[in-house]
Assembly symmetry: C2
């Protein structure tokens, strides 16, 4: 059986290897991606973002349990910011998730940053396609923070949950401004803690003040008491799931699925173009030794990055 | 006087306009960048990173005052994560910095994310060149977190300060693992708070355990009591400045300045290449209406991103 078929049959080893090969920039992965692409589109993709310590991993862990109880298959993609250079140990909280490792209905991968511009978001997009082709019903993506990188990654999702927690300081609270544009559902974790009511109020005011057209989706603000307590967990996580489903239904019943898919595809195309156009040029100048020579010249200020890039563009791009 | 000369004479209006034009992708900015490039290299560029709420802005504000007392000119570049889409309000803490706005020896800009892959880091690199050409003695860059985007930006710096604060939770503490590779100086803010001694101990152990070659720079861990108290401020901020200078001296007296410049130039070249090679292709397919057509096909799954990107690459790249 070739790799594409193995992946479609849900083979975890084949999927893991392909994700690793993509991260490592191994040749041949593009052909497999082309094969599996027509078999994607079945999964509902949920993005989880929010500041470190907000409880995203705990929430995801609880959701996995709920989804598995309903016999739904789950892929989890954790974007690991801990190790931009060496390439990712698993974060503390995520170790908890690893207990699902022996459940064949759960596939968890952690991606860290390697390679060039946009590389992580591209790898994430491809890992999502792979999980989708494996037949996962839900794919949960976890990212930290609200930088461009995270926004890029979260644009691969259909539904975005922003997880917050009271008491992380003013700076984070102000970050909400930017996050409103990507949030479909807000979850306030530990909402009974000091500052929880204030955070809830601020979010509601912010949503009220934002220009959401009539009939469009209004992000609900969910308050979760404590995921560690069994009863509160049942209620809270059930509410999170219900709102995920409500948003999914909304996407499919309105023209918004089209808009969301448009945004998602624009991002995927940009990433694929970077891989098809920029990477071969970078590889070519690295292989010929030209790159080292250029860097030396730049360090000595014998040229500048703009001039040298224009020269390279003239050499590698066709004239108009 | 043309723009390049105006910038070299320290004209703040000309510099502001050029930075805005670069952010907006206005044509003609590249020619000006080429002109000012030979006049860069005089500034010492310091990156400040760390989680939101760690006190980076307070520290930078205090450093500006110290540098101005010594009659040194300061550029500040704040990378604004608050608003990935709409393009940047000023964060709460940064408002404080604005009181320096009337001081002609201080130039503060805030960049937010717009445009395509790697765009923010590229804009940051160019803004640094502009401040450098203006004759700034120090350029202070502030970023949040440790994502790839932030690491990309911080690679524009000569010296990187990682600012931490006790009590932000385990997840952040574990993030230190990745941050060690970019940190030249650690600053623990509010070190007398609960958990401050533990954080200090953990950082020291981590540094001890890391394979720093003999004679190489060992990141010092500075403990700052409270920047709001005058006496503590004097001592703390003085120590931060002394360690910045010590690292600068180290860079110039060893071969490390070469290594650092190599890393910096590699990054700048990648960004300039993305602008020279990827952007014209994206622009070309957008201008002809081809882009919309491709996105539609992708949404309908009539093609896939890999195949379509290869077709575009064949059209725009010269055959080998």
């Amino acid at each position: 059986m070739e790799t594409g078929e193995k992946i479609r049959s849900g083979n975890i080893r084949a999927a893991s290897r392909l994700i690793r090969d993509i991260e490592d920039g191994e040749p041949g992965t593009k052909e497999i991606l082309k094969q599996i692409y027509p078999h994607t589109g079945g999964a509902h993709i949920i993005g989880f973002t929010g500041p470190p310590g907000a409880g995203k991993s705990t929430l995801i862990d609880a959701l996995i349990r709920l989804l598995r109880k309903r016999n739904l298959r789950v892929g989890v993609l954790a974007i690991d910011p801990s190790s931009p250079f060496t390439g990712g140990a698993i974060l503390g909280d995520r170790i908890r998730m690893q207990k699902h490792a022996s459940d064949p209905g759960v596939f968890i991968r952690s991606l860290s940053t390697r390679g060039s511009l946009g590389g992580l978001s591209r790898a994430a997009g491809n890992a999502i396609h792979i999980m989708d082709a494996m037949g996962m019903d839900y794919i949960l993506i976890e990212t930290v923070g609200a930088g461009q990188q995270e926004v890029d990654i979260i644009n691969h999702a259909h539904t975005v949950l922003v997880v917050m927690v009271p008491g992380l300081g003013d700076e984070i609270q102000i970050m909400k401004a930017g996050i409103l544009e990507i949030a479909d559902v807000f979850v306030i974790n530990k909402a009974h803690f000091d500052g929880g009511a204030k955070l809830n109020r601020e979010l509601l005011i912010m949503i009220d003040m934002s220009p959401i057209p009539k009939g469009d989706w209004r992000p609900p603000v969910l308050q979760i008491k404590d995921l560690e307590e069994q009863a509160a967990y049942e209620a809270g996580i059930g509410e999170v799931f219900d709102n995920m489903e409500k948003h999914r239904k909304y996407l499919f019943e309105t023209e918004h699925m089209g808009k969301r898919m448009h945004r998602k595809m624009t991002r995927e195309l940009e990433e694929a173009l970077s891989s098809a156009i920029l990477d071969p040029v970078l590889r070519a100048i690295a292989d010929t030794g030209e790159l080292e020579c250029i860097i030396e010249k730049l360090v000595k200020k014998e040229t500048d990055p703009v001039t040298v890039s224009e020269e390279i563009a003239n050499k590698y791009l066709r004239p108009e």
